[in-house]
Symmetry: C2
Subunit: 144 residues, 2 copies
Amino acid sequence: MAFEEEQKIFDSFVREKGLKHSAQRIDILLTFLKTEKHLTADELHTLVKKKNPAIGIATVYRTLKLLCESGLSSELRLGDGSVRYEHFYGHEHHDHLVCIKCGNFTEVLDTEIEKLQERLARKEGFTLQGHKLLMYGVCKKCKG
Amino acid sequence: MAFEEEQKIFDSFVREKGLKHSAQRIDILLTFLKTEKHLTADELHTLVKKKNPAIGIATVYRTLKLLCESGLSSELRLGDGSVRYEHFYGHEHHDHLVCIKCGNFTEVLDTEIEKLQERLARKEGFTLQGHKLLMYGVCKKCKG
DNA sequence: TTGATTATGATAGTGATTATCAAATTCAAA
DNA sequence: TTTGAATTTGATAATCACTATCATAATCAA
Ligand SMILES: [Mn+2]
Ligand SMILES: [Mn+2]
Ligand SMILES: [Zn+2]
Ligand SMILES: [Zn+2]
């Protein structure tokens, strides 16, 4: 429950970039790691303030950018305009199956689909670097 | 003048919604239909002003919303935050292969991928309604 | 301990989109 | 054809998520 590995990664990143240490960043990092949800910057700010009420939203945005650069987090945009952040380190690549009724979503992976994407890109002369697949539908519960 | 079919669809939509007819909406509709590009609201506004310089950006946004509701257009969000609009009526479903260097993109379709998405969703208990697949890579030109 | 450098939080600014509103336009009814 | 209630418009204000600015505070190598 200490996230030593992630903290080490963040420390190295900060050092290599010639940045300095700060308690705020650690608070934000640990709060982010503690939840497995896909949070917005604002939601994370609300959570972090429980531990350190003085932290400003600007610092949350700044730290989230660092977390993405260091490979600990990644941006996620589900259909609507909102930007969310999910864990990246130690999490396999996955896509999202979103329920259009209740908004819940499931993380999925289909290696065949991944392979076919590679093939498709190659056929078009592209060197594939990544992809985002969002699938929209109605979940089991909402069909009841 | 072309696009009779699209104009008919728009007219029916406007009538059914109890809205009124306006010259501005027609200017916006025809300008949108005339280009096959994926435009932002602002880009469309710039184009429409060549025909009718008095048209305001608010009316472009309002009309774009109507075009989407009537099934003539659909929103497109490529990775970054920008919102673009593409033709929807008479256009087959397709996905996008985006070049991370030059920003150009290709429209693609792989029926196998589409089928596998169905299968994946079913396996998770979802009834699939749609999806968005964005693939990022480096295009032929940019690899030169 | 020092002091150059970086980090912070408050706040101003930005860009895209939406809301507001008075004036103009549409269109069904007279 | 005229009328007038309802809708539409363009200008502009407001909003929202995010970034830039800046004075002050914290960090850390020397
Ligand atoms: Mn996820
Ligand atoms: Mn397209
Ligand atoms: Zn659901
Ligand atoms: Zn390219």
